[in-house]
């Protein structure tokens, strides 16, 4: 689209042509979805796979994507979170990867230690269900309000608060023990 900023150029009525519409959908929402996916997935590669699969779902059933930027975004975010939930349920694979990561050679330099500490904290998020993790990410890292998160994920404000409360509690418990482990090993 000639490099135009697609968010600003989004037409009110999206093209009927499936490929054209998908193209616009991709350009408008990719960045937003990638940022969320990266915060939901353990690695950049998995985040990209997550975004790709989300858009592929839209490609397979374009008529199920509602019109309008806000509705599109909500649809895509919900699909993305659901896909992540399916992946997350493959717990055996995930646990194996975590074990491999833990067995990685230990480093003692300050810079690398900081990287390891960040990774340790980020891995703790894997314990949360993707929906709860999404609520935490949207609220704590994106700064979205409870009402906005409820609208985006299609759940009630009470449910959002519930996820926030339990998510914070779980993270505090997990991070406390894991950071403790990390300190001992340094």
């Amino acid at each position: 689209m000639n490099g135009l900023p697609m968010v600003d150029a989004l037409p009110t009525m999206l093209p009927d042509h499936a490929t054209d519409r998908l193209s616009v959908l991709f350009d408008v929402h990719y960045e937003r979805l990638y940022r969320l996916a990266r915060r939901l997935a353990p690695t950049e590669d998995e985040a990209r796979d997550l975004v790709q699969e989300t858009f592929l779902r839209a490609a397979r059933s374009p008529k199920s994507v509602p019109a309008g930027r806000t509705s599109e975004e909500a649809w895509l975010v919900r699909v993305l979170v659901n896909i992540r939930r399916d992946d997350w349920r493959k717990a055996a694979v995930r646990r194996r990867h975590e074990e491999e990561a833990r067995r990685a050679p230990r480093v003692n330099r300050d810079h690398d230690a900081a990287v390891v500490a960040r990774a340790t904290i980020w891995r703790a998020l894997d314990i949360l269900s993707p929906r709860r993790r999404a609520v935490i990410v949207l609220h704590e890292l994106e700064g979205q309000t409870i009402a906005a998160i409820a609208a985006l994920l299609g759940i009630s404000a009470v449910t959002v608060r519930w996820h926030l409360s339990f998510g914070r509690r779980d993270l505090a418990r997990i991070l406390g023990s894991r950071l403790g482990e990390s300190d001992e090993k340094r």
């Binding site: 499936a18 990638y34 590669d45 796979d49 839209a58 990774a119």
Partner: protein, 204 residues
């Protein structure tokens, strides 16, 4: 003392990782649009090997869904075709064997260990490719084969996996996600060639 929110913000990968590369984004865009244009007579077509590899990723993502729609056709017994899947590397390292990917100037380096063979195929069939006269081969692995593929490819993400037919590397996509129950070989086959390979794969 820092609270959980502060720790999360400090650990946020988006704060520490470089911006996503444009080529990664473009590769996903091409894959998505290829999927959308597949049903359109004048849709975008991808003739390059790179695009074929991207399409492989699309089909691999369909794992689990594909099995439900798998046609229950029969395969005829024919001359054996040797099928192998091996992990590979883009750069040479001791113990690896150099191989050229058929139909391209690309060279990869094969691991000695074979991940899957004909024995690990539960079913294979011919599917339409990305052009009217081009056909691809869809392979579904046995449960044992799928487990081997999953185990091998999950630890090899970001590197190539080679599909060999009769000893020639016909495809070497870079793994973006693990392969387990099924995959598509997106070669430049005629219908007759694809049929022959599919029949040959079933010969043990």
């Amino acid at each position: 003392m820092r609270n959980v929110e502060d720790l999360l913000r400090a650990a946020d990968p988006l704060r520490h990782e470089p911006p996503e590369k444009a080529e990664d984004r473009d590769a996903i865009r091409r894959t998505v649009l290829a999927a959308a244009s597949g049903a359109e007579p004048n849709g975008r077509r991808f003739a390059t090997l790179r695009a074929s590899v991207a399409l492989i990723v699309v089909v691999v993502v369909f794992i689990g869904v594909g099995a439900r729609f798998w046609p229950r056709g029969t395969t005829e017994v024919s001359a054996a075709v040797r099928f192998e899947v091996r992990l590979a590397e883009a750069q040479f390292a001791p113990g690896l064997r150099e191989a050229r990917v058929v139909g391209s100037n690309r060279t990869i380096y094969l691991h000695q260990e074979i991940v899957a063979t004909n024995e690990d195929i539960a079913q294979s069939d011919v599917v339409e490719g990305d052009a009217p006269s081009r056909f691809w081969i869809r392979v579904a692995f046995t449960s044992a084969g799928a487990a081997k593929m999953q185990r091998a490819t999950a630890g090899h993400l970001g590197a190539p996996v080679a599909v060999l037919i009769d000893g020639e590397v016909v495809l070497a996509p870079t793994l973006r996600s693990p392969i387990s129950t099924s995959a598509v070989i997106s070669g430049d086959y005629t219908k007759a060639e694809a049929d022959r390979i599919v029949r040959g794969m079933s010969v043990r």
